[in-house]
Amino acid sequence: MSMLPPPTTLPTPQNMATVLPTVVDGGKSITVSSFKITTRKLPILNAQEIDAMTEKLGIAPPEMIFGNNIVSIEKIGSEEGGWKIEFNALDALDLVDKTGSDMLKVAYSAAWQKQREKMHEGIKEVVKPFDWTYSTNYQGSITGTKEFTPTTDQIPLDKLRRQDPILFFDDVMLYEDELADNGMSILSVKIRVMPARLLLLARFYMRLDDVVFRIRDTRVFVEFAEGVVLREYQEKEDSYENVKKKFPPWRDDIPAIMRDPNQMAEYLPLKSVKVEKLVL
């Protein structure tokens, strides 16, 4: 283990550019109606940063950890102080179960365990048990005093279906893990900004082969003129077996569908939903 202190500041795209490959675009920013939207996209963490994050979290981060990436929406120029919602990997991972109390197991675990017990009884200890699927109910990190309260309002899909010009769009990966080739776990954030409103979707998707599919969506909607912020959180989940039955038999690209959270969202039943509101 490295004994390096955790970095006190995150590197900026500018100084990172000199030390890292230039294959990723660094992110961008836009301000519309006193809302500042920012994305930052950098390579996965290096060894030191991973050590620092492991120490903070108490669990090993996912294999592909974009710990310097962020998406944020900030209300600026407000008299009552600023307000900001940000999505980042560290906070998302902090909500992953670190006790292993509700741990999933890979499909062939039972068979493997049985085989193992025959061979080597001595090895019993599970190393650092935690939710290795990195399932999180993260809904963003908020700074500012204004708080969300439950509401019966809904995100106005009709307005969002309109083909208003998209002034700003980005898709930012926060983390991804291949679950040691037993499926996939991925948290990414998409945002689109139109002249009058914006929509952000932070989607966690997890597929554990032959076990379960899981989606957790956080949507943030902002109507600029009214300063209204709606946040919707949904959980969708179903067993692998059930979902497989729903795939149309004529589709020959099932593996590709199962890799695509956006397509999979249509195949998973809604388990829970809540909407919250805040006026800035």
Binding site: S2, V19, I44, A47, E63, S109, H120, F169, D181, P255
Partner: protein, 439 residues
């Protein structure tokens, strides 16, 4: 030009070859591989490579950086396929080279060289897309079953010939004209030597300093920070040659075991790997499975993965295994490393990762590991009189940043770090996300 040479040429252009030709090459490859042992013996010098994952253009970059086959003797530690867009071309090119130059390239099996895994992670889909049927996928899978499970590199030297630095080098990367034994050399991006470590003082290196500015705390501390080199015979290493203990073999005449994943609790000697029946699909349990799947971890002894299947092994396991088998190093792949390589457990094991910008989005660099020939006639410097730089500082840095122990015994090794091939040569869709009206 023979059919084989023209197939190689065509594949080098990243163009698939006809199905009939794939069949023929797979058949020939199988005839060669069937004769190979579970643990192939490979003579140094050799260049060891980790996961490729269908990143064809980056494989070309690897050959550019490491030298072409057969000029360079290569050892690939598996995971040729899946994830990337060109698994087919990448694997077939390596296979053609194997058939063409069987003694100059060694391919060992990774956990992705399996029917089950390739149906889920891309290679199967790619074959269907490119040929319209699963035939080519089947031919390839039949070859997978014959790939060796590991390789033993013998005759590796205890030092590498230091690469001379270009004039006008940045002071921070300026390394003393290393006249004593260079154990570890790192060639960073653009072919710049970013690190040379002599045998005595280097601790565990994990390549956090690909470029000097990446490690401000090192470069700001003066020459010693960038130069973890010491003086032979001064005791700075705390361990003289020839005086070792069971945990830290100093025998540099040992071999290097190469395997995709790691060790298995069922395998306490290299000979036991030789006894396995490898010609089958990768099983879900047992020694063969472990060799392709297990990971080193900072634990004592063996542990179970929290996933409910698979083993993790600690430093003591590696050191004991190396000692019992007269190994100086285990080289493995299997895990993504941002820096391209990562040495662990006092340099008794290294992870080599050769897929830069993995999945076209991770932004990581890749590395290959060069093991030189044994030049046992090399004169050891007597040293002692030449105290360069601030040794105290060097030692402190070495132990703080490089993992502690100064005890060494590994072969001389050169890591060449490289980036993903230029974007435009990849012929892929733009990386800029396309705006759309998601809901």
């Amino acid at each position: 030009m023979s059919d084989l040479d023209s197939a190689v040429e065509q594949l080098r252009q990243c163009r698939p070859i006809p199905e009939s030709q794939v069949r023929e090459i797979c058949f020939k490859a199988r005839e060669i591989l069937i004769e190979e042992a579970n643990v192939q013996i490979v003579d140094a010098p050799v260049t060891i490579c980790g996961d490729i994952h269908g990143q064809f253009h980056d494989l070309m970059e690897l050959f550019r950086v490491g030298g072409d086959c057969p000029d360079t003797n290569y050892l690939f530690m598996g995971d040729f396929v899946d994830r990337g867009f060109y698994s087919l071309e990448s694997f077939l090119l390596l296979l053609c080279l194997k058939v063409r130059y069987p003694d100059r390239i060694t391919l060992i099996r990774g956990n992705h060289e399996s029917r089950q895994i390739t149906t889920v992670y891309g290679f199967y889909d790619e074959c269907i897309r490119k040929y319209g049927s699963a035939n080519v996928w089947r031919y390839c899978c039949d070859v997978f079953d014959y790939l060796a499970l590991g390789a033993l590199v013998i005759g590796a030297g205890s030092s590498v010939q230091p690469t001379r630095l270009a004039d006008g080098e940045d002071a921070e990367t300026k390394v003393r004209e290393a006249e004593d034994e260079v154990e570890i050399e790192v060639i960073g991006l653009g072919g710049v030597v970013t690190r040379q470590m002599s045998r005595r003082d280097a601790g565990m290196i994990n390549s956090t300093n690909l470029t000097p500015s990446a490690l401000p705390h090192l470069s700001s501390s003066g020459p010693a920070g960038a130069l973890l080199t010491g003086v032979p015979g001064t005791g700075a290493s705390g361990n003289s040659r020839g005086i070792g203990n069971a945990n830290t073999p100093t025998n540099t005449g040992g071999a290097v075991l190469c395997v995709h994943g790691g060790l298995s609790p069922l395998i306490d000697s290299v000979d036991k790997i030789r006894l396995l029946d490898r010609k089958q699909e990768v099983p879900h349990d047992g020694a063969m499975c472990d060799l392709l799947w297990s990971d080193p971890e900072e634990i004592d002894g063996w542990g179970l993965s929290p996933r409910g299947a698979g083993f993790l092994f600690g430093a003591d396991i590696v050191k004991q295994f190396n000692h019992l088998n007269n190994l100086t190093l285990i080289a493995r792949a299997h895990q993504l490393v941002m820096e391209g390589f990562k040495e662990m457990f006092d340099s008794s094991i290294v992870t080599v990762w050769s897929a830069p910008n993995y999945c076209y989005r991770c932004g990581n660099v890749a590395a290959i590991l060069e093991l030189g020939e044994d030049n046992s006639n090399a004169v050891l410097r007597s040293g002692g009189e030449e105290v360069l730089f601030n040794r105290e500082n060097t030692r402190r840095l070495a132990s703080t940043y490089m993992g502690g122990s100064m005890k060494r015994g590994g072969p001389g090794r050169r890591y060449r770090v490289f980036e993903a091939a230029a974007q435009d040569s990849r012929g892929m869709p733009s990386k800029k996300p396309m705006p759309y009206y998601f809901l």
